[in-house]
């Protein structure tokens, strides 16, 4: 995408897109919340607590989506040397980590009325927890390396190593779970989700996804500007130094 490789062009695109995207996101989330809280019926098994699903499932989906995005951006950094790739990767980490955190907390709060305990080491929650740890690792690495070029490449390698490991980890956790928990893990709303529950879920999922994209674009803009500011501040310092020389 040559046009998106140019930071200035990218910034002007972002400036134009953000207002519309923000409006659309807010509309969708508002509609989704309305559907979730006022329209969706209680589940025959879980009662009203199924309403937590409308947040938990989109959050878990975004946790995965975010990490996949980081992995693709990391390929962009290492293989194609796309100039904006490491900006995309760096800014997606806090957003993805937040949604992972939300998935964990809502999963825990969903579990308490369902299984009687705040945490359960089932395959899904455990995998999300490990994913959260991978996000934390990326955050820590970005913070630890000062030179942005080296940080970008190191984080890209770590993200790809983690991405390759996620299916392996998930497989091992699922296998481990069948060893220790012969009882069935509950299914969301039964074998198939009733449309009255599915529609609010999809609207919320779409709304949250747009929110992710919106925040990501704004964060990328901020990061690009941050690097420009840094460069200009260096020029300012040099000019001040030569003026005194």
């Amino acid at each position: 995408m040559p046009s998106l490789a140019n930071p200035t062009r990218f910034l002007s695109i972002v400036d134009r897109v953000v207002p519309w995207l923000a409006a659309l996101t807010m509309l969708l989330l508002a509609y989704g919340l309305y559907l979730a809280l006022f329209v969706a019926p209680p589940d025959y098994q879980q009662g009203e607590t199924v309403k937590i699903m409308f947040i938990h499932v989109p959050a878990a989906w975004l946790a995965m989506f975010g990490y996949t995005l980081i992995a693709v951006a990391s390929l962009g950094t290492l293989i194609w040397r796309h100039p904006l790739a490491d900006v995309a990767a760096k800014t997606a980490v806090p957003i993805g980590a937040t949604f992972t955190f939300i998935a964990l907390v809502t999963g825990s709060l969903w579990g308490k009325p369902m299984w009687g305990t705040y945490w359960v080491w089932d395959a899904r929650l455990t995998s999300v927890l490990v994913l959260f740890l991978l996000y934390l690792g990326l955050l820590a690495l970005w913070q630890s390396i000062e030179e942005p070029g080296r940080a970008g490449r190191a984080a890209a390698i770590l993200a790809l190593v983690g991405f390759i490991n996620v299916p392996i980890i998930h497989f091992s956790v699922t296998w481990w779970n069948t060893l220790h928990q012969p009882a069935s893990v509950f299914r969301t709303g039964g074998p198939t989700i009733d449309p009255s529950l599915l529609v609010p879920l999809l609207v919320m999922a779409l709304g949250f996804t747009l929110l992710f994209v919106l925040l990501h674009l704004i964060a990328m803009r901020a990061e690009i500007l941050r690097r420009r500011v840094h460069a200009l501040q260096q020029i300012a310092v040099e000019r001040a130094a030569t003026a005194q020389a």
């Binding site: 490789a5 140019n6 930071p7 200035t8 062009r9 809280l37 006022f38 209680p42 009662g47 009203e48 607590t49 309403k51 937590i52 947040i55 938990h56 959050a59 040397r81 100039p83 900006v87 806090p94 957003i95 937040t98 955190f101 939300i102 907390v105 809502t106 709060l109 969903w110 308490k112 009325p113 942005p148 070029g149 970008g152 929110l211 925040l215 704004i218 964060a219 803009r221 901020a222 690009i224 500007l225 941050r226 690097r227 420009r228 500011v229 840094h230 460069a231 200009l232 501040q233 260096q234 020029i235 300012a236 040099e238 000019r239 130094a241 030569t242 003026a243 020389a245």
Partner: protein, 85 residues
């Protein structure tokens, strides 16, 4: 508020935590964005522009741009207050 059943506190807690987390995220990102734009505006007011506002360096990596500016020519060439556009 509709009747949220016997476990209403869990549902409200879940939505509440989500609201807090999302709000914090949004505020942090938007604040950072505004901060950078303000800093950039201040620098441009002082007459410090990028060496090439719309030319070759735009296509290069941001790091390359930083490397270029920090590898600027020695004091003999640079004149204070000189504008480059």
């Amino acid at each position: 508020m509709p009747d949220l059943g016997p476990h209403a506190s869990f549902i409200l807690a879940a939505y509440g935590v989500t609201l807090v987390a999302v709000t914090a995220l949004v505020l942090a990102i938007v604040a950072d964005d505004r901060h950078q734009r303000r800093l950039l505006a201040e620098l441009e007011l002082k007459g410090i522009r990028r060496r090439s506002a719309k030319s070759a360096t735009d296509g290069a990596k941001p790091q390359a741009a930083i490397a270029k500016t920090s590898a600027k020519p020695r004091p003999a060439r640079a004149k204070p207050g000189r504008r480059r556009s």
